[in-house]
Chain length 341, copies 2
Amino acid sequence: MAATIKDVAALAGVGIATVSRVYSGNGAVGAATRERVLAAARALDYRPSAVGRSLKLRRTGGIGLVVPDVTDPFCAELVAGVLDCARTHGEHVLLDAVGDDPAREAAAVGRMVEQRLDGIVAMPAGDAAPWEAAAASGAGVVFAGRAWPGLPQVPVVLADDGAGVRSLTEYLTGLGHRHIAFLGAAAPGAAPGVREQAFRATLAALNVPLEEDLLVAARPSRDSAYAAAAGLLQSRAGVTAVLAAGHLLGEAAVLVARELDLRVPADVSIAMVGDVAWAELCDPPLTAVARPGRDIGRRAGELLLRDRTRRDPAGPVMLPAELVVRGSCGPPRGARIIRKL
Amino acid sequence: MAATIKDVAALAGVGIATVSRVYSGNGAVGAATRERVLAAARALDYRPSAVGRSLKLRRTGGIGLVVPDVTDPFCAELVAGVLDCARTHGEHVLLDAVGDDPAREAAAVGRMVEQRLDGIVAMPAGDAAPWEAAAASGAGVVFAGRAWPGLPQVPVVLADDGAGVRSLTEYLTGLGHRHIAFLGAAAPGAAPGVREQAFRATLAALNVPLEEDLLVAARPSRDSAYAAAAGLLQSRAGVTAVLAAGHLLGEAAVLVARELDLRVPADVSIAMVGDVAWAELCDPPLTAVARPGRDIGRRAGELLLRDRTRRDPAGPVMLPAELVVRGSCGPPRGARIIRKL
DNA sequence: CTGAAAGCGCTAACAT
DNA sequence: ATGTTAGCGCTTTCAG
């Protein structure tokens, strides 16, 4: 169907090497010859085959990208960032969404390895095995937006959620809150995430006593988030503010507060980590920690594409998460009015 | 770096053809031999190269996907749908976002053609040329989520926005509205889109006089949307409802209404086409026309992957857009209260 | 049931 | 400046 280099060479009356030289830019060709080649190519609608070239060069180019869900705003930003990076480098991007399912992730990584991509940037979900295999196969791997404790040798770029939560916690306590709920804690027994750790640490540093029963666990699903928020706000033991550890949890908190006819921020302050479009649209607009998804994606791509003989940075690359103050947090009910700075 | 079929054959003490047969499934191999091959492959971390196979088979597989912006909720849904489809067919997806820029689109399509993908599904932005070239090269092309009048021979799958806008317009007029603004009309002189046409037609069918100055134009950007909404609502000549033709326009309307201290729906009713996450979160929740982005993506993928010798359906595939009634629309101020049905 | 060999489209020596 | 050729990793006749 598609014309090959031979067709072009034949039509132009030159050898295939000349055609190759015209397209690859290596080696010189006379102006007249080049013109004949180009004309022939145009006549035949010739596009050089990346497949043939890849086989010969033993390097395909291309970035694999594995995220849990393209529909999630943070993931979408991250994808956009990787796309940006790929575009500036003239690379293509192979995308898959694996829904945090380790089996699907393994399958996706396997397919990408078979495609002989330059490397993979991923928000890792489950098993270490596929990543080890990918790295062993010579493909680069960079994690983005999510840490993966098991593979310390894999470079990773993250939002500095610890700092983000610290800012937010300090902001809330500064407003006068002493009974802050943390929505989205680890299940009892499980290791707490960075967000929860930062929350605990900040409270401790501020000498605000931590109330363990205000750390409410939730799995990362809408339903679980909603249940957790409902459980918290219905029987709220003097909670004056809730810090939602993710945008799904923030959404749940807003919805539950509205259902319970709680005024925000008069009755409860609400804030969340993850700044998404609706944060600005809801009423009142939600204070949130903005995580630089696009930058993370871009940076991860750069890390992948750059010369891999160079030593990678020790430890994760942390990109700043910024506190965006909007109208959803105020002083706790009954507190002295804080004078504006 | 990576092991090849030869390495495996050598280690297993068989010919490369046998290794190939083990992996491709074509031809029979003795159980014992197969085991030896598999063992050797495992020892070498062998993964067959898709590049070699593609070259030999002269068919790469893979779906190209071109959207304006992965960060847009509708596009993200569409991408997710194509990903779903690709997964069930064992295909991979090559994604690019081109920001509605014809030059970037042409570049993206060019790269995809060079990759010798099976075909491309796209939300087309600009020029017809790259698409014609792609189709000529033998790759299938399917448009999704956006019509492209210039290329009638390209199959296209769309949300039935006409029907959606009709439902919405009927709903609004049913509530008693007679002065409905349409936010997002075509620029004066330009051809109106399906949404606008449906709006005009529905009003005409209902014998509601159309007020031309309530059709306000906007380009598809946040700024333009905001300006249009502000212009409309500041000097509103008796507008009782606004129908926003897209989610960006809906967002702008909500924001402007809030800034102007207009109560929704008491002072103005607001509704939009495009149901996005925040519609449910904002206060009051926004009535919207839900467009089945994911289904559109899936369907477009199917259309692309299925035997292309079969005749494609004449005319676009229309997927239903559903009116989701929430709290942002009510009877116009001063109207007789409509009895509940 | 298995091996040898041709060739997919391309690039990079090497030769002219 | 241009042509010839080998070979990238794989599948697939064709022999055996």
